[in-house]
């Protein structure tokens, strides 16, 4: 089942902060965050694994609440380059071959 992302869209001024949420109805092993610009491939931002392992990217960070089956992506002091659509991909179980199920995306527009 597809994870739910919120908000669907957000408009920021350069330097402002934003939070994107991703929630799943299934127990999660991993949460993956990607950013995609129009016409380009999704670019890997970070992964959060059950048990706490995490990898960050610039001023973008994330949290993973295993009990609530939720993850949040934090865009801090946003830059123009942060514009794009952000997708979370959730992995239910390691035994399932780490198949990722993606949310519908959150469109982010950072204005000068």
């Amino acid at each position: 089942q597809q994870p739910v992302q919120s908000p669907q869209a957000v408009i920021l001024r350069e330097g402002e902060d934003a939070v994107i949420n991703c929630s799943s109805s299934k127990a999660l092993y991993s949460v993956h965050w990607y950013r995609q610009k129009h016409g380009e491939a999704p670019i890997f931002l970070m992964i959060l694994l059950k048990g706490g392992e995490q990898k960050g990217h610039d001023k973008i960070s994330a949290s993973f609440n295993e009990k609530k089956q939720q993850s949040s992506l934090y865009l801090t002091a946003s830059q123009l380059s942060y514009s794009g659509t952000y997708f979370c991909g959730t992995g239910a179980l390691r035994a399932a071959g780490n198949k990722l199920t993606f949310g519908g995306g959150t469109r982010v527009l950072v204005k000068p």
Partner: protein, 117 residues
């Protein structure tokens, strides 16, 4: 390190015609995925290979879609016959084996854009 390579980048075909997409994953990556991304939506998994074996093809419309990875490296995704609703970006992705961040990170190619008219 070279990324995931895909071709062609763009293809326009008429409905009921056939089309094939090619993918070369990152060297050494055992797992290969094909995703379909319809405009405005998140990617949807079509098929997952581990080496040359299929791990998951539950969402592949097998009456018209087929995929193979004969030698455990390159892969081909075919659509025959194509329908209007197949218009989408077809993304190939790959992952190495192992645990932790490195073993779980999935890398995407730039995609093959298909328009069916």
């Amino acid at each position: 390190e070279a990324g995931v390579a895909q071709s062609p980048r763009y293809k326009i075909i008429e409905k009921r015609q056939s089309v094939a997409f090619w993918c070369n994953p990152i060297s050494g990556h055992a797992t290969l995925y094909w995703y379909q991304q319809i405009l405005g939506q998140g990617p949807k998994l079509l098929i997952q290979f581990q080496n040359n074996g299929v791990v998951d093809d539950s969402q592949l419309p097998k009456d018209r879609f087929s995929a193979e990875r004969l030698k455990g490296v390159d892969s081909t995704l075919k659509i025959q016959p194509a329908k209007l609703e197949d218009s989408a970006v077809y993304l190939c992705a790959s992952r190495t084996t192992g645990t932790g961040v490195s073993g779980n990170t999935i890398y995407f190619g730039e995609g093959s854009w298909l328009t069916v008219v």
